[in-house]
Symmetry: C2
Subunit: 636 residues, 2 copies
């Protein structure tokens, strides 16, 4: 049926083909091309291809095609443990890079870990534990070459806040710890499940702008918290000097590192040196007796087993699950963002879903070995990259150094002043405030900026959960608003061409007499179908009033440029039918230009195509104009 | 800056202009047109125009422009009370139509009202009350000419279900009634607020498909409920005959009415006749003494004042508010759908927001005069339309008949058997099951069909609330999924034209050697930017593998057709930058064709345009191909 109609269309077009004087195409019999009606796809094919594109967009099994069975097993093992693949080409020169990078990030992570575990209301050794087991697991299963794994400030704060809403960390320390492991376990389960079920795209719903605002808000919150601790030592005049000197040394080194890329190692190792020096000074002066707060106790030895501590039943299971899901998703967002950034910089492929499984498994194993939620750290990953890391071996090196630290030297941290840890945390989190990104967001998209600020103020003035909620809500609202109120534009012909464009963007474009050309810039769905219909009628009314005032001929054809209309649903078809009806009463004909494959299919299925006439659907606006302009009507 | 770059671009284009032999344009110096860079809009202008398009898309104040002050007052009054406008041209011939229609819908509404109030667990007179006051208010404030106002089955069921979750209607009848008025009050407030704040577009988020499924599910639920009552009389053999005869008479009349449009009044008055006849038979045979359940008691007299019964404080305020919001929105959806359908059929404009205010005010006043939630009824509006109603006067006529009924004859309904009411309800709700729409939805959009079935089974097997929740969730999921996984297509040139189209839709389209042309069918947002980037790289990889296998020259240019890309955000720009970087490493140049006004603006603001080179942005794909094809490179 459709084919017959098309032939008819073609014949009709040919008759009118040579009429337009403005046309400048070759005089060829195929000039007005018929609109392609693709062969109808079966529902099953349509459905499977939609599922494939949604969940397996990266075609993860493509390498497995046409391989022998043993080869498939090897490829399968390599898919789960990428280390099996890249270890084959590992060499000494790569190890040199990884060794230096590993040592550098180890020196940065040790003081950070001790500080961050305080944000999670945990004892200092738990931060170090989390920098020992998870990086090892990641090195075997992860595919990013630059990410540095371990506890991070924002996730530690989020976990600490959520946990202490449920259990008091000072009164019920043991129960609190158990809930922390439970949450970590479920964070890992959530992450691995998202990857395994190929639902990784869900984290894309946290927009970049929202993350920027959230991170900055969390950074400010943490910094203010730490500053309180940091300024708390003011009254102890004796030690203040040393610490403020330390801090200023550290600060300027940090600054120096930013200016000169070759000096990147100065801020990287400054924290450890500050810790060593300040610990030494406290030790020899016994400042803790004058009230300088110190770490006081830090357990020696490597991670004890904690699998028996996880709550698998009761009320705490649910609490742990809920907290785990939230922290797991936030941790994942951070890790994936870091992975993607560095993969793009070094131009290697990163399989998002595989990454999530790796991070999930590392947290599941972590929860069984006294670790709390670990993920990729912004600051340490950047240092790792700048120190010339080549592979995930740098994480193994770091893990080994942390192991040595836990095994032999943790007791020495007893005299480390809390103030120096606070200053290390402050200096690390300040880096999370990305002013440049915020300014760029303001410039590019005001709505994004509102999402960014919403998340920021939500975190700063309410809480991390509220900030997160605000960020996600605004991000969703943006998508929904855009779907509800799509843009429409009046098109005109650009002089001396056959190209029709928005007359607002191209003021030199001219309207065609008797014809109104409207472009709809969105899929036509239930959420906007009514708006689109009414907007088009309003364009028509406005135009007719103008024409009437100027005594010009009235509009006879409304051409709807459908190129951007990528899909249409039942409500959309209904709206088009209503539009056709209203136009009919006004003596205006509805004409469609360039509907896509999917849309054309649905126009035929719903009989809308035969309602307006198959000959009213054209390949391009130019073709439609040739047929519709009053001139051709006179001559026919 | 942008202007200089554009000039440069133009000059460069002109140099390459005459190279392409496939071109068939006039040899005119403006042939390759520069890409329009519109004057940058101030943030304030941009923001106000966005707000205007979102909330005042219909430009409600357009009639007030350039009018005298007194005229403005008249126009303002007419805007609030449309009756002031249409009453001026009201005449006897219109009244004849309205009188007949009003009498017909009154005869239909009286038995329906008595039945529906049972669905809401209220005494029969409350249904009649709700057909007296609200239609009067609507007649003054509403702008639909065909809608018939009063209680409806689905809203009655929904209200009854939600209310009895909170208060037992048999044990605490007084409290239950008070909560019903409170819910009605807040339903009205919600409706009026949505209209007044011009947030009417929010109800567009309930998709047509979801509403079809929800209505059918509610109809089945109500029918089964009533059937239980209807079959409950089986054991009372004496009366069964009369009633089943009544029912079959009524049923066949209904059927006859559907077949012949002139007999529409047969199903319309059949219910009232059934009620009168069955009531008469029960009265003379005293069947109620043999156990036939009858209405038994129905209060005489018009609506008592109930404003003092509304809960304005305490726990019940919150409950009433919550129930009111849900029922108010559902009632509004029904009213707006009816209003729009008939407005489209008779081709008159309906201001959605004004309608909402009218319906909201009528429910607020209703809640103070012993009415429960009223809205537009599908069945009665259709009868109203078919009986030849002209204006809202038919509602006034109906209201007057209901007034007379309440005032004088309600006691006569005492002997009406419940079974006849059940059969009237069943026959009314069966009409809500729209098989045709469901089949069309299945044909057009499988995802819509899932939403439809989800709502249907949710209502039938769980509850009205669950069904509603399922419907809304699936509708949202559809939008979000579409935003996450937009379509991309490879374009080829349609022979003998300069038109580039999807090679899947137009198999005769040919690829250009050395150039890959990809079209992105969506705005590029945070939710899809990564997917789009990776999908484009995968198209490129696939294509390069094919070319390699065939020993053809490799791809040098990736042309991205941006026509459907209606917007881009910061994440989108970042993804384009990463794409540019990846392409650069593969020795492929990124070229953009026809970016829209908004996108172009953002490409400039973010300096992406100068990153890829202003001369890599073209007005059409054809222009881009001319410049990029290897041929032109040889010759330059």
């Amino acid at each position: 049926m459709a084919h017959n109609a098309d032939k008819e269309l073609e014949t009709k077009e040919m008759a009118t083909r040579s009429l337009s004087s403005a046309q400048c195409q070759v005089q060829n019999s195929t000039y007005i091309h018929k609109v392609g009606v693709p062969p109808k796809q079966k529902f099953f094919n349509e459905f499977t291809s939609a599922v494939k594109e949604t969940f397996f967009a990266d075609d993860p099994l493509r390498h497995f095609k046409d391989q022998t069975k043993s080869r498939k097993i090897i490829l399968g093992m390599q898919a789960v443990f990428p280390i099996l693949e890249w270890a084959q080409s590992y060499n000494l020169s790569k190890f040199r890079g990884d060794l230096i990078a590993g040592l550098t990030i180890a020196s940065l992570c040790i003081p950070q870990d001790i500080g961050y575990s305080k944000l999670a209301n945990l004892q200092p050794q738990y931060g170090l534990y989390s920098s020992f087991v998870p990086p090892l697991i990641y090195a075997f299963m992860g595919s990013s070459r630059d990410i540095a794994i371990g506890p991070v400030a924002v996730v530690s704060l989020l976990l600490g806040t959520l946990l202490q809403n449920e259990i008091d960390p000072t009164k019920n320390a043991a129960e609190y710890l158990r809930l922390a492991f439970t949450a970590t376990f479920f964070a890992g389960i959530t992450q691995a499940a998202l990857g395994f079920l190929r639902l990784g795209f869900l984290i894309d719903f946290l927009s970049h702008a929202a993350v920027v605002g959230f991170m900055a808000g969390a950074a400010i919150t943490i910094a203010l918290q730490q500053l309180k601790g940091f300024l708390g030592i003011k009254k102890f005049t004796k030690k203040t000097d040393i610490i403020s000197v330390m801090h200023s040394v550290f600060g300027s080194a940090h600054h120096g590192g930013k200016k000169n890329k070759k000096l990147f190692w100065v801020p990287a190792i400054a924290p450890l040196i500050s810790v060593i020096l300040s610990t030494f000074f406290v030790f020899i002066t016994h400042a803790e007796k004058q009230g300088v707060q110190i770490v006081n106790h830090i357990e020696k030895g490597i991670n004890p087993v904690s699998v028996n501590q996880i709550y698998f039943t009761g009320d705490n299971l649910l609490k742990g699950f809920r907290i785990g899901v939230v922290t797991g998703v936030i941790a994942l967002t951070e890790a994936v963002a870091i992975g993607r950034t560095f993969a793009a910089m070094k131009d290697y492929q990163l399989d998002g879903n595989k990454e999530m499984v790796a991070i999930g498994v590392m947290n599941i194993v972590g929860s069984m070995t006294s670790c709390y939620v670990a993920t990729g750290s912004f600051s340490r990953s950047a240092v790792n990259y700048m120190s010339g890391c080549q592979t995930a071996v740098s994480n193994i090196v770091m893990s080994f150094i942390v192991f040595l630290t836990l095994k032999f030297i943790t007791p020495l941290f007893k005299y480390t002043p809390n103030a120096i840890l606070s200053s290390i945390i402050i200096s690390a989190v300040i880096g999370l405030i990305d002013f440049k990104a915020a300014i760029l967001i303001w410039k590019i998209d005001k709505f994004d900026f509102i999402a960014c600020m919403g998340a920021f103020f939500g975190v700063v003035f309410a809480s991390v959960e509220i900030g997160l909620l605000v960020a996600v809500s605004i991000s969703f609202a943006k998508i929904l608003l855009q779907v509800t109120r799509p843009r429409t534009a009046i098109l005109g012909r650009i002089p001396m061409t056959n190209v029709y464009r928005n007359i607002q963007q191209y003021p030199e474009a001219t309207k065609v007499p008797g014809v109104l050309i409207v472009r709809v810039d969105s899929a036509i769905y239930f959420s906007n179908s009514n708006y689109i219909k009414e907007r088009m009628l309003r364009w028509l009314t406005d135009e007719e009033e103008l024409l009437k005032a100027a005594y010009l001929p009235k509009i006879q054809f409304l051409i709807v440029e459908m190129s951007p209309v990528i899909d249409i649903d039942t409500s959309g078809i209904q709206a088009l039918e209503e539009l056709h009806q209203s136009l009919h009463k006004r003596d205006v004909r509805l004409v469609l230009a360039n509907p896509g494959q999917v849309v054309l299919d649905k126009l035929h299925t719903s009989n809308f195509a035969s309602l307006i006439g198959e000959d009213k659907i054209f390949l391009t606006v130019a073709d439609a104009v040739v047929t519709c302009s009053p001139k051709s009507e006179d001559e026919v």
